[in-house]
């Protein structure tokens, strides 16, 4: 433990300059990666015959140009903050949760079921009920790979990928079967609309869901660095064997971490249902969980890094249509830029070489530890 905490104390004690340098060391790689991606994106735009200036200004107009645009950006960023938190949180315990997508889908459909299945509740009860129901569904679904890893040694990367497929098909079945919208004439696979009392409102141009997501980031940060549990989780992530030797119940921590990770992803799905879509409809939550991996890496797996990372990707998603309309650029270009950002963050040697920075151990991200119990 101690080196890290001592480091932290030293830094706080030393000059502000040192603290700034520390922050800079944390954010320099992602920021440079973004800038590099934007520049390469501009070159690609030029080669494809479009004007990068027109394209990027349309992108900015579509994501920050007016109140609606800002609301759209925040709306797009909300599930990304939560799925990013889910992935980042699991990283801290050395677990690579690729199953955020599946956990998010369960959160979305359970929130929808609680939203349309119950009527006559006041919003103050109905909103949290559906929200926590969805989050709990995500948590339970996240607990499965955690338990599998603990008791059978099955690697969570494989089980979570497989469980994503299971989640897609179960939710599709529910939306096209028992929970299908039976209003006259409907042939589309989707659940009924949720009751108005379950809808998460917007405050001005700020979706309340985004506020909740930021709150979740703060709680995650507090849990990780200011509680015993957080200390245990991080210790397991650094070295499960040493943690076991130190008396930490690694099995329990593994399951609990996956549960909490699933809880965050499930909450992301619930907010999508209650704040954006208004029902569960297959195909509406595609890729949100997978984007979480991008966000977590871009945010350097820190809860507070996740928020700007999600805002950046959310803004690119929000502005993509405008870019297509104004500049005639296929919106795949935003995918290309996103992929380039991830590439430069992952291959940070390139960025470090550009910045002439040496790697220090504290900045390394533990993606995943070995195969279960060894």
């Amino acid at each position: 433990m101690t080196t890290e905490q001592e480091n932290l104390e030293q830094t706080t004690a030393s000059s502000v300059g040192m603290a700034l340098l520390r922050v800079w060391r944390g954010v320099s790689v992602p920021i440079t990666a973004v800038l590099l991606a934007v520049v390469i994106g501009a070159i690609i735009l030029l080669v494809s015959g479009a004007s990068p200036v027109a394209a990027y200004s349309a992108l900015i107009k579509g994501s920050f140009g007016d109140g609606d645009a800002v609301a759209r950006t925040l709306e797009k960023a909300t599930p990304l903050v939560l799925s990013g938190l889910a992935v980042a949180f699991a990283f801290k315990a050395g677990l690579f949760n690729i199953g955020a997508q599946g956990q998010l889908l369960f959160g979305a459909i359970i929130a929808a079921a609680l939203g349309f299945g119950i009527e006559g509740l006041p919003a103050i009860i109905h909103i949290p009920l559906a929200l926590f129901g969805g989050a709990l569904a995500g948590a339970l679904y996240g607990a499965i790979p955690g338990a599998l890893k603990t008791y059978t040694g099955a690697h969570e990367v494989i089980t979570t990928i497989m469980l994503n497929f299971v989640a897609i098909n179960i939710t599709d079945f529910l939306a096209n079967g028992p929970w299908k919208d039976t209003s006259p004439g409907n042939i589309v696979a989707r659940t009924p609309k949720i009751a108005p009392s379950a809808v998460i409102p917007e405050i001005g141009n700020v979706p309340l869901g985004f506020v909740l997501a930021v709150l979740a980031a703060v709680i995650t940060w507090w849990l990780l660095w200011h509680t015993t549990l957080g200390y245990e989780i991080r210790t397991v992530g650094l070295n499960p064997h040493a943690a076991e030797y130190a008396g930490i119940r690694v099995a329990w921590i593994t399951i609990l971490t996956m549960m909490l990770s699933g809880l965050l992803a499930g909450m992301g799905g619930a907010i999508e249902t209650q704040g954006v879509v208004g029902r569960y409809q297959p195909g509406f939550n595609v890729g949100l969980g997978f984007d979480g991996i991008t966000i977590a890496l871009l945010g350097k797996t820190h809860p507070f890094g996740v928020i700007p990372a999600a805002l950046l990707v959310g803004a690119m998603k929000a502005g993509a249509s405008q870019m297509q309309f104004d500049a005639g650029v296929a919106n795949e270009i935003t995918d290309v830029i996103q992929a380039l950002i991830l590439f430069f963050v992952a291959a940070d040697l390139i960025v470090r070489w550009i910045l002439r920075m040496r790697e220090t151990d504290e900045e390394k991200i533990t993606l995943s530890t070995g195969w279960g119990k060894q």
């Binding site: 800079w24 609606d68 800002v70 042939i187």
Partner: protein
């Protein structure tokens, strides 16, 4: 130490940049609220910020001003999640819009939807820029289209594959006068394809490789196909397989289509119907590698769009989307727009090179069935939505 100072300076500069950017973003909602309530309580900083935004919007508006004027007829198309050149329904609808450009002198544009939550945003981009007709493609856009039609009574909306007979408030008496759903009896096209398959099979086993059952037209094609095959050949063995994945992959998985088609052929099928975008295309292209096995395409005459399937493609179960879209656009232009549901044409594509292979009695029987389906003496038994 020098290096560190340099680093710090760079960082501070970047931080400044970031703060400006974030500040701009953060203030935006406040600024906007101010302008809607016309109180305009903005600080100097924000004012400059807002001015910049305003300037941008005005230049933009002059750029698109031609669509807002009465003389210019503008048609916009919003695709479902998918690509405009999908060789299937998005493309067929776009062909219809392009015909409007050529024959009606319309100014046209399209937006490809990438995220299903952007339907309303994408429709709104056309609506806010003064487009006269907006075509939305795919059943999933139905709700967003109906809501946009209610909000923009001066714009005509055409929803391909959307039941728009009842408006979104479920009251059938107030059909929106500016909203038409272009729908197709896919089950009838499937019925004809099934009848053709049922008569052409020698192994008495036929197959269908399908996109997901989450998409109603696919279900209609399948049910019609099976009913048609049983109509001509009651003891026929039919292997129908839906793609097991979600909507994001069900129509873009040619590998699955190919392996599923091969599996069906291994089980004795000698006619394969591929219905499901690129997934179905994968199936019929696979069939082309197997001698003595026929394939049937979907949506458009795939003889034109999937030349790789020429060795096996005896016909396609067509939805005539292109003429349907064009007819509705010209009706909108002429001021006799039909509200509610507009039923488009379906049918079998020409046999092309297989014209000589298909016996005359099969062709006669198909004509007979086609007539029967049209006058209602033959029913496919498919009844969506109860």
């Amino acid at each position: 130490m020098k290096k560190r100072t340099a680093l710090l300076t760079t960082f501070l500069l970047l931080l400044a940049l970031l703060l400006v950017a974030c500040g701009g973003g953060g203030e935006e909602p406040a600024a906007n609220e101010g302008s809607t309530t016309t109180t305009e309580e903005t600080t100097n900083e924000e004012a400059t910020n807002e001015e910049a935004t305003n300037e941008e919007t005005t230049t933009e508006e002059t750029g698109e001003a031609d669509c807002a004027s009465e003389e210019v007829f503008c048609v916009g198309l919003v695709t479902d999640v998918g690509e405009i050149d999908d060789k299937s329904f998005n493309q067929s609808a776009w062909e219809g819009v392009k015909r409007a450009e050529a024959e009606l002198g319309a100014k046209i544009d399209f937006i490809e939807t990438k995220d299903a939550k952007d339907y309303a945003t994408n429709i709104g981009l056309f609506a806010d820029n003064g487009y006269d007709v907006i075509v939305t493609v795919g059943f999933a856009l139905g709700e967003a289209t109906a809501e946009a039609a209610a909000a923009h009574p001066d714009i005509f909306f055409i929803g391909v594959d959307q039941f728009q007979a009842w408006p979104f408030d479920d009251d059938a008496s107030n059909d929106l006068p500016n909203l038409a759903g272009l729908i197709f009896p896919e089950d009838k096209a499937g019925f004809l394809a099934g009848a053709l398959a049922g008569m052409m099979t020698e192994s008495n086993t036929i197959a269908a490789v399908l996109g997901t059952d989450l998409v109603p037209p696919v279900v209609a094609f399948k049910e019609g196909y099976e009913a048609g095959a049983r109509f001509v050949n009651p003891d026929i063995n039919i292997i129908s397989t839906y793609h097991p994945g979600g909507l994001d992959v069900a129509f873009t998985d040619p590998e699955w289509g190919a392996s599923t088609a091969k599996q069906a052929i291994d089980q004795g099928a000698d006619v394969v119907f591929g219905a499901g975008g690129k997934t179905g295309n994968g199936a019929i292209i696979e069939v082309a590698n197997h001698e003595g096995v026929y394939c049937i395409g979907v949506d458009t005459d795939q003889w034109e769009t999937v030349p790789e399937a020429h060795p096996c493609l005896i016909s396609s179960a067509m939805k005539l989307i292109t003429p349907g879209v064009f007819d509705l656009i010209s009706a909108a232009k002429d001021g006799n727009f039909p509200a509610g549901n507009f039923v488009g044409e379906v049918g079998l594509a020409p046999f092309h090179d297989f014209d000589s292979v298909i016996p005359q009695e099969v062709k006669d029987r198909l004509n007979e069935i086609d007539t029967g389906l049209r006058d209602g003496s033959i029913e496919t038994g498919y009844n969506p939505g109860g």
